[in-house]
């Protein structure tokens, strides 16, 4: 009966209900978009790892970010291949260079040199060009999303990278890292020339283990056999790369603050709505007290109203979030909204609505039931 009272009273005052809903919807949308942007952005920080088709990454001990590689000896590759459980291993090069632009300028690029005959390290999704693009003479793959930075290189176009001739033999879509520097995929041998990296060095060794192999055990064995090397699972290295940006840039704090702000605005709007509804109904609350309703029961009414606002607001908020995500999501600013994020936002908003009850509840506690007798 109290829930019925709560919901009917809430629905009767549509103006205030809408004001409260706006607060909840605002909070839900902001939390989801901020969270989605955050997840999308930090996802970019580990893009090379996540899409590498490898489950073990080996680099110099103390490696902390996939984009900032330190050279390691390529000869380690042979020792890695001899470790039990290793099905496939390839060396890759990750190094910075510059591409000449038709407009006579230069643009920094992150050259990723991989074995064209292996899937390891192929983090791109080819949209234009042959699957053997990296095997073609001078062949490189650029991403269509970097067209504005690279002056829209067309398939077959010749450019210069690091003073060397390259040909655009493939174009991918959506391979964008955390850095503003575009990724450029090529063969490892060509990458040496484009980045002036000594041919006996590489940046990482990528490993695909046997299905039955224990990844952790393989890493331990590699670390034991190669002093100075650091072998970690791909998931672990992705985590290390994400943490690097979170801790060094304060990214988490920035997005967290914006999310908190959204929740605060929602809190104030829902609290204000409920408070105004209580003020409008002082006589009714006094009457309820007069006929024997306890403060706990009146709190139940308030909570019912607050949770009603939360339920409707979360539903509409998630719908609006979905629409905005479709409209705004792009490889440059990906919005990754997972079910866990939606659940978290709903829980936070629910908590916010429960807290918003506090002020109106204090007002209700002060209501003298005797005012029900005042005409």
């Amino acid at each position: 009966m109290l829930w019925r009272l709560a919901i009917h009273t809430l629905l009767r005052d549509r103006g205030k209900l809408i004001a409260g809903l706006v607060g909840v919807i605002f909070a839900v949308v902001l939390v989801n978009l901020q969270g989605g942007l955050y997840l999308g952005l930090i996802g970019k920080a580990s893009l090379l790892v996540d899409r590498s088709h490898a489950n073990v990454w080996i680099g110099e001990s103390g490696m902390h970010n996939v984009d900032f590689a330190h050279p390691i000896p390529t000869r380690w590759l042979h020792r890695v291949r001899s470790v039990p459980g290793v099905a496939e291993a390839e060396a890759i090069v990750v190094a910075v260079s510059e591409m000449s632009l038709p407009s006579h300028g230069y643009e920094g690029v992150m050259v990723i040199g991989v074995n064209p005959l292996s899937r390891l390290g192929h983090a791109f999704t080819l949209r234009e060009g042959s699957p053997t693009a990296l095997q073609e003479p001078h062949g490189v793959i650029v991403d269509a999303c970097d067209d504005d930075k690279l002056d829209a290189p067309r398939l077959g176009e010749l450019r210069e990278v690091g003073g060397q001739k390259v040909r655009i033999t493939g174009r991918s879509h959506g391979t964008m890292g955390f850095l503003v520097t575009p990724y450029l995929f090529t063969s490892r041998q060509r990458a040496y020339a484009l980045t002036q990296t000594p041919p006996d060095m590489c940046s990482y060794i990528l490993v695909r283990t046997d299905r039955a192999a224990n990844v952790s055990a393989v890493c331990d064995e590699i670390n034991r056999r190669i002093p100075g090397a650091m072998a970690v699972s791909a998931d672990r290295f992705a985590d290390i790369s994400v943490r690097y940006w979170m801790q060094r840039t304060g990214l988490g704090i920035s997005f967290g603050a914006a999310t908190l702000l959204g929740l605060l605005v929602g809190l104030v709007m829902v609290g204000q709505t409920l408070y105004a509804m209580v003020l409008d109904r002082l006589q009714e609350y006094a009457t309820l007290k007069a006929i024997g309703a306890t403060e706990r029961e009146l709190l139940t009414v308030l909570l019912g109203q607050s949770l009603g606002i939360a339920a409707i607001g979360v539903a509409i908020g998630l719908l609006v979030t979905g629409i905005l995500q479709r409209a705004l999501d792009s490889p440059r600013a990906p919005i990754t909204i997972s079910p866990a994020l939606m659940l978290t936002s709903a829980s936070l908003v629910l908590l916010m609505c429960i807290i918003a009850v506090l002020l109106p509840y204090l007002r209700i506690r002060d209501i003298d039931p005797q005012i029900a007798m005042q005409a």
Binding site: E284, L288, I291, G292, A372, M373
Partner: protein
């Protein structure tokens, strides 16, 4: 004029009602409500004014007692004390034999919920609820299931002549209908005490008489003790006993 009879199928004719005065309750029946030497005062600025000055009052089950008197004589204050809405500064109050002087807020709420039904001058119905839910509300507070509470409320509203108005909200009802709904809310939980504050003040003569008929019918059939604050001389004939207050004292 015939009006529906509460808790029975038989209509109750106004002419059949008992005479308003002279109903003597058996002395053996203990009072359901009793005060002894109740004082209550309020500050008006820095000036303290004693509104009630040593009130001794009691009412037995089945009695319909009017509190009358001029404005400011303390009728409503006494009613609020009898209804556990106010606490006396001095004196004692017993409700169903229980000393109600030193109860906590929660205990007073419990007494109001179980033992007392209120009818207010301005009805004080919950605007967001239908007539049915307004009447069912006290049963909900007492822990009845919503379906049971609403079924009983529907039966009572039918007895009150509002069977076709169950789903209407207070704004869709006339003042007379609102007061009948308010009466239904007051009696549905079968309280032992019914307190009404100027129940006919907002009604015209016809509706006022109808409400008083229903009230009196309820008192006589359910044995509830009813205290009604009024200064409406048109309804004095319904009272078993009239207590007149002047300057905070019950005058003979």
């Amino acid at each position: 004029m015939e009006v529906p009879s509460l808790f029975t199928d038989q209509p109750l004719a106004t002419a059949q009602l008992s005479p308003p005065f002279g109903i003597a309750m058996p002395a053996a029946v203990p009072p359901v409500l009793r005060t002894e030497g109740v004082w209550k005062g309020f500050f008006s600025g820095s000036q303290r004014r004693e509104v009630l000055r040593g009130i001794d009052f009691q009412i037995r089950p089945g009695e319909l007692v009017f509190l009358s008197g001029p404005s400011g004589s303390g009728k409503s204050t006494l009613l609020a004390i009898l209804g556990c809405l106010l606490t006396p500064d001095r004196g004692r109050l017993w409700i169903n034999g229980r000393d109600a002087d030193r109860l906590t807020i929660a205990e007073r709420a419990e007494i109001r919920r179980r033992d007392i039904g209120f009818v207010f001058q301005r009805f004080q119905l919950i605007q967001g609820l239908s007539a049915l839910d307004n009447v069912a509300l006290p049963l909900g507070l007492l822990g009845h299931s919503p379906s049971d509470a609403r079924r009983r409320a529907a039966d009572l509203l039918t007895q009150l002549g509002l069977g076709d108005h169950c789903q209407l909200r207070p704004t869709q009802l006339s003042p007379g209908q609102c007061q009948r709904v308010a009466l239904g809310r007051a009696v549905i939980a079968k309280p032992s005490i019914l307190l009404a504050d100027e129940p006919t003040a907002a009604l015209d003569a016809v509706n006022g008489r109808e409400i008083m008929n229903l009230l009196r019918d309820c008192v006589k059939r359910t044995n509830v003790a009813a205290v009604i604050v009024t200064h409406d001389p048109r309804i004095e004939a319904f009272a078993d006993r009239i207590c007149r207050l002047e300057d905070g004292i019950i005058v003979p």
